[in-house]
């Protein structure tokens, strides 16, 4: 009995700490300053100008053969199913982290393939690094040994950021999430 009395507070603390960790792991990060300005296919894009809209923000690159097209295809499907009124409340922004190969001209062709309303952006390394830092996005070039010199792919964070009408990140959609769940999460914010 004495033993149980002794360990009860310890067990309580362990349960409490575990609970706090669990809740934090499952909470959406709320950025205090996620604002950015970037050169885009529609001129300089300023996140602040989209207050009142839901912004779907994704970081990737044009040569991305599978991960980016998969997410962009899901976003395209969700977007095309929305009403005209709903579409007006949504902005889709694709930021390239491959500044060497991507430019606004080829990004325009790339993003229009998914939907004409989507915008793509690329900028100086300093600005890209500043924006990715704000969003906790990581990217890194990968040079396979067995390929021609200079050939690379880009490893990158693949979460889709859902930014609310107040400009703050409300939730993340992980790579591999179904179209249905993506749609539900977006509609919740509209």
């Amino acid at each position: 009995m004495e033993f149980i009395k002794k360990i009860t507070p310890i067990v309580t603390i362990i349960i409490f700490v575990s609970l706090v960790i669990y809740i934090n792991m499952n909470q959406s990060p709320i950025l205090t300053d996620g604002d950015f300005r970037i050169s885009s296919t529609v001129g300089t894009y300023d996140l602040k100008s989209d207050r009142g809209k839901i912004v779907l923000l994704y970081f990737g690159y044009r040569f991305c053969p599978d991960v980016c097209p998969t997410t962009l295809s899901s976003v395209t499907k969700v977007y095309s199913d929305l009403s005209t009124k709903q579409k007006k409340k949504i902005r889709v922004v694709f930021i390239s982290v491959d500044i060497e190969r991507d430019n606004l001209k080829n990004l325009k062709e790339y993003i229009s393939f998914f939907n004409q309303d989507f915008i793509a952006a690329v900028d100086t390394k300093n600005n890209i690094d500043e924006i990715t830092r704000k969003y906790g996005v990581k990217y890194s070039k990968y040079y396979p040994d067995d390929k021609e010199e200079g050939f690379y792919t880009v490893d990158h964070s693949a979460d889709l950021f859902l930014i609310g009408k107040d400009g703050k990140v409300k939730t993340l959609i992980s790579h591999g999430e179904s179209v249905k769940i993506m749609k539900n999460k977006i509609i919740e914010l509209l």
Binding site: P65, L72, E109, S112, G136, P144, D155, H175, V179
Partner: protein, 148 residues
């Protein structure tokens, strides 16, 4: 003798020729300037031995490789893999975000509904030629509940 020979061909056909089935094969349509794309499919193995897909080759691309995705350090990393296992009496799905065949450095832009010839070589000595169509491929579908 003829009967024995025919029997052997039949048996061999079942083990090495008819044990693999490819379904729902397709190549992802991407914008014209894309240099690489993925081929996806379901490969079923009706034999009681595991079979490995060890090579893919296509004249549509300078390099045709077997790939998978790995999430490491918060990043999605696409890497070449030496083989893709098809379990005995089972199947493997080559799908977006998972195992797939990567066509790198494409010879010309992809056209919708174009057929892309791909030779698949397996470790049982079998080679299967498929001609998947280029299609617009949607993102991930809702996961279906698996019955055990």
């Amino acid at each position: 003798m003829k009967k024995i020979l025919l029997f052997l061909i039949f048996v061999n056909g079942n083990i090495f020729g008819g044990s693999l089935k490819i379904e729902n094969e397709r190549v992802r349509m991407l914008p014209p300037s894309s240099v690489a794309t993925g081929a996806f499919m379901k490969i079923s193995n009706s034999s009681d031995k595991e079979i490995k897909l060890i090579k893919a080759k296509s004249s549509k691309a300078k390099m045709t490789e077997l790939h998978n995705h790995f999430k490491i350090d918060g990043m999605m990393k696409m890497r070449q893999v030496p083989f893709i296992k098809i379990p005995a009496k089972g199947y493997v799905l080559l799908k977006p975000g998972s195992f797939h065949i990567m066509l790198i450095d494409l010879n010309g832009s992809l056209k919708l509904r174009e057929k892309v010839k791909i030779d698949l070589t397996f470790d049982n000595g079998e080679t299967i030629t498929i001609e998947p169509e280029v299609k617009k491929i949607r993102g991930h579908q809702m996961k279906k509940k698996m019955r055990h």
